[in-house]
Subunit: 137 residues, 4 copies
């Protein structure tokens, strides 16, 4: 993530994050990563800016490695960086480390595209959206 | 639930319904009850009718007893009945029985009000909505 | 909640808390209330104390009023107090206020019973558990 | 998925599957895919067989493309096939098609490893587990 301005946030594992295996469910991790991205936007751009943004972005790919299970009371340190911005897409890389053990639990890439608010078709990342994303680098 | 036309549906407990206690999480049960109500509407009214309905309803109260924990592979039998329709509200009663043991796991009352689609304020249950609800009795 | 030592925590509404109605889903609120209780335990008792506790508690009733919808970017102020401790049960009262408008969104009572870790049957709230709960008043 | 015995199941999109974007949330899709895999196991192996299996498997990677948003009342047709079985891992491929439009909404690969129930370390896919997985091809 060289050249990227990292954002770090913490979430403590609760009982409701678990499944019957006794660790955080693999789908729940995507919610925790989404929460970290909302916090990044909030901290760096402000929710007001987002609110006015008229170029919605949608997730088109998630590629996520689960390395070590996360257990009750673990503190998850979620590191988020904007890895790249292309013509129509942007890729966030997010890593989750367990604070207590230092072990890496999750390593994920989440790819977004900008879409036309009416047609829902991908459009170039431009104007205000590009400006906002550049502010995250 | 005398006088009510019951609707019954089944959902099998999966690992992702659980929490760290090893049984279905108490919040998840509200989703399972919501799923049962969607199926009731689908079976009795048809999703097309719902789609055209311009009188949205919102949940204003849930009063739910958790009696016996639900475990992995249990088949939940969810019985839903429209208990009453008032001037501005309607009450559904939903009971969940565990098929294998016959034990009652959940007994809930879910109260809805009709709201004005613009103001969000409660309005009398009338017109098409009352017609639809009457069809559930 | 006279006589109760309140605990207050904040959660910002994100897109994934919503449902198709454009506001926080009624089942999701139970998760947000659960999160607030975990934070209460963490802040007042410490997760270490909980970890060693051998008297599990389970939710037996939730009675929740939904008063005003919560929307994207709203800051939810969740106030939690231990309302009463009985022989076998304890009742938490939790209120959610929307910080920006001051409106009360949710008012809930959540009743727990202590259960025997082996049989799962309700047992008197005693020993270490009563001590912990007394520490929350 | 040549050579694979497909399993197909249907799930109708409900309001609680959505997020503030007005379509099924990207994390929720992982739950829907998990539900489809549980149904596959149930239909092909029987839950009794799974219950006795002493070789747990855990998800180590999900690579998922989101192609077309899924909306309220869409019927999701989830096709699941066991794509490959390696020495320590197995890969399921799952595709979701929207019944009404025929559009492909999701294309995912989900990789599992067998782990030692005590250490949690990956172990060869052998014995009863390999037998069960072979039964899915």
């Amino acid at each position: 993530m060289t050249g990227t301005m990292h954002h770090t946030t913490e979430i403590v594992v609760r009982g409701y994050h678990h499944d019957s295996y006794g660790h955080v469910n693999h789908a729940r991790f995507l919610e925790l990563l989404e929460e970290a991205r909302w916090r990044l936007f909030e901290d760096r751009i402000g929710s007001g800016a987002l609110r006015k943004d008229e170029s919605p972005v949608v997730v088109v790919n998630v590629n996520i490695d689960y390395k070590v299970p996360a257990k009750l009371y673990d503190t998850l340190v979620i590191d988020t960086g904007l890895e790249s911005i292309g013509n129509t897409s942007a890729v966030f890389r997010q890593r989750i480390t367990i604070k207590e053990s230092g072990a890496e639990a999750v390593d994920a890439k989440v790819t977004f595209v900008a879409v036309d608010p009416k047609s829902g078709k991908p459009i170039p990342v431009g104007g205000k959206l590009r400006e906002l994303l550049d502010g995250l680098r």
